[in-house]
């Protein structure tokens, strides 16, 4: 009988589990691979699942093991992540890694000032939500390794997220990862950064040094892979201290493109209940907006947690736009459209801005220093604001590229 070297398990089992699987790996000192597999989709993918399990074990350098798999229709990138997690938990240090082939389309890095109206949180341990997330057209998706992942599952979620970045097509959404609080978050970066996410969210930032730690680690990893490229940072301020230092945090790194706020932790820090109206966080949010604008980065609001209350969300988001925020988080795809509508300028605003913009171009063409609309002179900051609004509305698809008509 071959001796047992180590045993590890990963994933989930049970009839209520969907699109995931349970894997137990018992590493042995001989006897080859003994694979027992049951699957809800055995009739369709039983053979392919077995083949994939064997290839994954080979890629990891596991030669002798007893492996038990109970599958509930997991997609291939999840199968690989769970097998790898179980093997690592069995004490196996992989020789290679079992990353799925890169199936997601390669893309240009995202511009630093791209639209970030909505960012949809996806719990890192719940891969079933990943594959259709892009269909709901959020501006960004966040693969979350922090609060939505149980402390005992951090290692496994990291592998799922890493594989998802390679295998899942998130459409036009900016691909963001929320890492764990430092120092665990730095280890997350080692796994995540090579898979080309476009933005890293750092939770509970209170000092500029924390952002620098992340920046340094990113630079190290990118120089190791020899492929430097834009990879943006969005610090999340979630405490009184973090808010007080917002300005320094926003300016500490050229990779910082936005500041955002976490209201649950912030109100806990203040020791006050979080209300629907949000008076208790008004100062913090406005201060964050100001610090972000001073640093030339975007200000992004927190999430609205009540998924069933789309009217409440709309009111919150409209007020948020009025304060100077340019977007907020979503915890459910149905929130995306409401947020996009709330952060869009109104038809009247766009029409007025287009008229000012046209007057500006007309003045420029005629070599006039003063812009006027009818008999009224328009101040330069008004012109500037109007032009920015037109540009933003255009990116939201509310103004045709060439034309000047409001849809």
């Amino acid at each position: 009988m071959p001796g047992v070297i180590g045993r590890g398990e990963a994933g989930r089992r049970g009839d209520d589990v969907r699109s995931d699987l349970y894997v137990a790996v018992e590493i042995r000192d001989g006897g080859g691979i003994d694979l027992r597999l049951e699957s809800r989709v055995a009739a369709y993918y039983g053979d392919s699942l077995r083949r994939q399990a064997e290839e994954t074990l080979r890629a990891l350098g596991v030669a002798h093991a007893r492996v038990e798999i109970a599958d509930q229709g997991a997609l291939p990138f999840v199968v690989e992540a769970r097998i790898e997690a179980a093997a690592r938990r069995a004490g196996h240090a992989p020789r290679g890694d079992a990353r799925p082939p890169a199936a997601a389309p390669a893309r240009d890095p995202s511009p630093r000032d791209r639209l970030r109206r909505s960012r949809l949180y996806l719990p890192g341990g719940e891969p079933k939500f990943f594959v259709n997330a892009g269909l709901h057209e959020p501006d960004g998706i966040i693969l979350d390794l922090e609060d939505s992942v149980h402390p005992a599952e951090k290692d496994a979620a990291r592998l799922v997220v890493r594989n998802a970045l390679r295998a899942v097509d998130f459409g036009a959404a900016e691909r963001m990862v929320r890492i764990n609080q430092l120092p665990l978050g730095l280890e997350d970066l080692d796994a995540i950064v090579p898979e080309r996410p476009e933005l890293i969210l750092i939770p509970k930032v209170e000092t500029p040094e924390q952002v620098l730690d992340v920046e340094r680690r990113i630079a190290e990893i990118l120089s190791r892979t020899g492929k430097d490229r834009p990879l943006w940072i969005m610090p999340i301020l979630e405490s009184a201290e973090g808010i007080e230092r917002a300005r320094e945090i926003a300016r500490v790194s050229g990779r910082v493109v936005a500041l955002t706020i976490g209201l649950e932790d912030y109100t806990a820090d203040l020791g006050v209940p979080k209300t629907r109206e949000g008076a208790e966080t008004l100062y913090a949010r406005q201060r964050l907006v100001n610090a972000a604008k001073a640093a030339g980065v975007q200000a992004i609001d927190s999430v609205y947690g009540d998924v069933g209350d789309l009217d409440g969300l709309r009111i919150w988001a409209e007020r948020s736009r009025g304060m100077g925020f340019e977007g907020m988080g979503c915890v459910h795809p149905r929130q995306i459209r409401v947020i996009h509508e709330a952060f869009a300028p109104s038809r009247a605003e766009i029409e007025r801005a287009l008229r000012i913009d046209a007057a500006f171009r007309d003045a420029e063409a005629r070599g006039l220093g003063v812009v006027s609309l009818g008999s009224k002179m328009i101040d330069p900051p008004v012109v500037e604001r109007a032009r920015r609004l037109v540009e933003r509305a255009r990116r939201m698809g509310l103004v045709p590229d060439a034309g000047e008509q409001v849809r």
Partner: protein
Amino acid sequence: MSRRAEIVVNAAGRKVPALVNGREQVAYRGVGKHVPDGRKAAPPVRSCASYPPNGDKRAPDLETALRECGLRDGMTISNHHHLRNGDRVALEVLQAAARMGAKDLVWFPSASFPCQEPVIDLMERGVVHHIEGSMNGPLGEYCSRGKMRGMGVLRSHGGRWQAIQDGEVKIDVAVIAAPTADAFGNADGSHGKSACGSLGFALADSVYADRVIVVTDNLVPFPCVPWQIQGGNVDFVVEVPSIGDPAKIVSGTTEITKSPDRLLIAENIARFLRDAGIMRDGFSFQAGAGGIALAFVMFLREMMKEAGVRARFVRGGSTKYLVQLLADGLTDFILDGQTFDLDGVRSIGSDPRHVATSPFTSYNYNGKGNFASMVDAVVLGATEVDVHFNANVVTHSDGRLLHGIGGWQNCLFSGCTILAVPAFRDRIPVIVDEVTTLVGPGEMIDVVATERGIAINPRRKDLLDAVKGSKLPIRPIEEIKAEVDAICGGAPRRARFKDNPVAVVKWVDGTVLDTVWEIEG
């Protein structure tokens, strides 16, 4: 053995038995190709001299009524399914027949439900020979494993009327569960503690069966109005304490899906009807009680309000969402076939614009027209759709019987048939190369709406043109399939079967469209 009967290939290229349960079959010939001849079947002539002049047809219990009806081995017993998973009557009838020593009965329900699982025991004991009607859950599993002695016959609601009317199925005893009835046999479904709304699926049985028994738990003095079932067709009335569990007869409330992906499908379908110009004043549509269909109604309602459009009629199964359309003045009528929730039951019992319809008028293919073809658009589900737009609604991709056909085949004749399906469920692709079981020919299916895009049947150039320039995600079905296969890690392996037909799928004209084969393993 009839099981080993000759197999022929029909016009759809599917292998079908030439003989089913000892009866010769016509293989499917194509849509509209089979022309029936002969005369309709009819029950024996009866005289009112054989019935009590005071109209009191009560029998003390089911066994007495069955005995008086001349129950014998091999007879065909029918039931309707308006009490859905709350029904007690069908099982009690078959169990009473078992106590009386009957053997080899054919059970002919308009649909079966999981609560009727004990029929398996009756089949094991030889009381029931086989089922002609939808089978799902444990009954579907039993049939799929080749354990039923006869072959299952799956028909649409309209096809069931057609089979009865054309004499393909002769009902010896019809037992009709009635939420309200009088002693003369008039019966109504929309009142009483076990109210279920319409009794439409029992109408053919009441007209064509040799003998008719009405079973009720709410006997009222003559007359029972409205009389959906007419006492002139009824032999016996049996009063029982309860015909079913009201909580399972109708849902207290039907619920819209919460799945964001399914909501996306529903919204895209509503936008499709709007952008294609199908949603216009005086139009009509039908949507079932599935989560996507309900959400579709909700989205369409908002678009109708915004555009100031009113429908002439909507077609049930009714739910609170259709009732709301009626209340908001967004439709003139609900033409109902069955009633799914309490709001629907209340409405059909009180609002004359909410009409109980007969499958004869709505669905029967061998009639002088039926109004399924007059509905502008219908939203249906499916278990599989292939790249030729052929669809399956009765078996899972692994070949197991899963659902009945219901009105699904009949609805395919609407002006625009839309299948609302997720592109894959877990890791099971819904869009496939070839359907496991053919239930709807691709030429009848116009649109397949998934969360990954809307595919329009290339035969419908008019629809393709109509939505040109709209922002809808219109894509070729092959492209959606390729995307799903890539996500799932390749195309799924096709199901493997034993060489043993366990059931057939009838087309609406009574011809055999496909075969359900015994599953492996």
